[in-house]
Symmetry: C2
Subunit: 418 residues, 2 copies
Amino acid sequence: MNPVAGAPLTVNGRSYPRPGRPVVVVCIDGSEDAYHERAIADGLMPFTEAMLARGADLRGECTMPSFTNPNNLSIATGVPPAVHGICGNYFFDPATGEEVMMNAPELLRAPTVFAAFSQAGAKVAVITAKDKLRRLLGSGLAEGGICFSAEKADQLSIAENGIEKVLESTGFELPSVYSAELSELVMAAGCDVLERDRPDLMYLSLTDYIQHKHAPGSPVANRFYAMLDRYFARIDALGAILVVTADHGMNAKSDAAGDAQVVFLQDWFDERTGPGASRVILPITDPYTVHHGALGSYATVHLPAGADRSALLSELAGVDGVDTVLTREEASERFELPADRIGDLVVIAERNTALGTTPARHDISGFTEPLRSHGGLTEQRVPVLVNRGVELPAGHRLRNFDAYWIGCHLAAEKPLTK
Amino acid sequence: MNPVAGAPLTVNGRSYPRPGRPVVVVCIDGSEDAYHERAIADGLMPFTEAMLARGADLRGECTMPSFTNPNNLSIATGVPPAVHGICGNYFFDPATGEEVMMNAPELLRAPTVFAAFSQAGAKVAVITAKDKLRRLLGSGLAEGGICFSAEKADQLSIAENGIEKVLESTGFELPSVYSAELSELVMAAGCDVLERDRPDLMYLSLTDYIQHKHAPGSPVANRFYAMLDRYFARIDALGAILVVTADHGMNAKSDAAGDAQVVFLQDWFDERTGPGASRVILPITDPYTVHHGALGSYATVHLPAGADRSALLSELAGVDGVDTVLTREEASERFELPADRIGDLVVIAERNTALGTTPARHDISGFTEPLRSHGGLTEQRVPVLVNRGVELPAGHRLRNFDAYWIGCHLAAEKPLTK
């Protein structure tokens, strides 16, 4: 891509100038802002500390539900789930009675910025920790685009991923999918690709394995952020615009004693609408549940015909630990969600409470640390850290999915305008 | 310990001046010298490269057999196995017909330098990767001495280990015993202890998991040595004398196609002295065999009464892949081994050959890389790298177990004398 020539690209109604240098967005999964703040305070992120002094140290909002897939796709498309359609890890289709995993590109309703730029001739590289996001984020990439997951870094091919031999080039053995090293491999591979291929756009999306287990300022969390700091420094030294954000925050979902606090919604609805008549969907559920037991702070509920929705809403809103209950219409408007992929009710828990179905379906007996999770409004604030100063338009509501909009403007040295 | 006052300590007949600054010996398990040489050539060990330019870049010999336990105990005691008694991971006691694991302190026949110094009031810290060495190396430590393994870093107590909460202080989750991270935890914990407690003597003993799987200059090996380089720099910056050595080297035990080359000795002797009459002992065997399949290049054989030892010796010496066969008497003299803990014959394989018992007892079918191992004379040369210049006495035969003798002299600013 000729970095200077050409009009800005318009993707999903937003304008992206063609960048004059690489734009690298790092999505630190589950990066509640206290994580980097504590690591900086403890002297473990010297590069980031200096970067924030000269760059931009902002906070923005993630999209609801504050889960991984909706937010990664929002960052990739620049728009909320109402537009791109991905509102969780899966949804329930009442017409067929089936639960549908939302990791197939067919379910994506909007092009990504990556697809648009790569089809316009730009070099694009997308690296994820877990493979579940790879197909969605790589959807529509032109030939030559790089897209792979660290989880499957031992199975890469030029034809499928645009790159191969990543373990060899980085010197990693294939990490466990439940490890900090999975994220480190994303960072190491990203730096290698940045140095060698100098892509116009790069996206590095990590896993929240550490954040689900370790609180901000804890030794393991601090060590993870110290590791990230070294890679941020390398990205900066390679001349890229760096935007660091998160897909969602993270909070303890436990009481002061460390015991999980969970409202079991399926049991609650079964008592009121009959066994199994209502269908409680926990869109955090995915094939990787070891670190959160499928417990988050967001649920959506499909009610049986004839149920008294407003009465149920009112009663549920008064349950201890429940923060907000909205109708489908209210939720889709307030949170910009696709109305056809949520239930009749949307339920959001309070900061330290998670939502479950029934106890038997959430085994956290093997947890050695208190439950930490996300999904609610209390995990909506995320960092937006940039290695350049950022002047937002007056009144701009900053979102994590502004990352490429900010990055492309900075890389083209153009002011940010609505 | 008063660093200046006091006469030198004599341990096992060797004189160790009292050090005026910490002496840190790092034993990189299986560190064939090509590992650090290749990593330096690839620009991945900038500190070590500079250290060797101003310090000492030496090569010495390890003790035979070139295995982990004998050499770690030689480094710890300053003397060969003939004196300290540990000549492998286990030995066969013909009197009882039992195989005896050599990880119990009762089997150690000489005090360690650590025990002698700690009993004289010095601060000593010993950190190993695997737990198998911990009890031997910690034998005789006075109260307050620090001794623990990374493998059991989640089970430490002040009473047992002289330290606790190592995972918390370093920010590690407990690593797999088969990982590079197990060694990294040793280095990280060692640096923390050095900074906080400033021990007079410290010993950091790693695992050869990486070296058994990855050749010098390979990406994974290079990344491992790049990691070590960062910790060496930190040890040096903390003002310690640093001596880096190895317990043994490492070579491929395979042909050009990558297939393991193994002489199966039990089968060979069974054909000649009758089934099970001879007893082939492979002292590399230990509870951790995943990475070498219990295949090394050294074996010792107990023959039945009446066997024609010299005829068997002559015939075996002519077998393809066998380098040297010695009688018990020859081996104990040449290699300074305890004659009562070896068999009637000692067998050493050539560089690219390993010795086994019978195929069924060595499962390497799951190996994804060609077999790499050690035990022979071809793995006897090891690096001796020091962050100060070293002037050895004329004609001195440098051994890895000179490490503390060198380190204590340098730390006391005394010339090395025999």
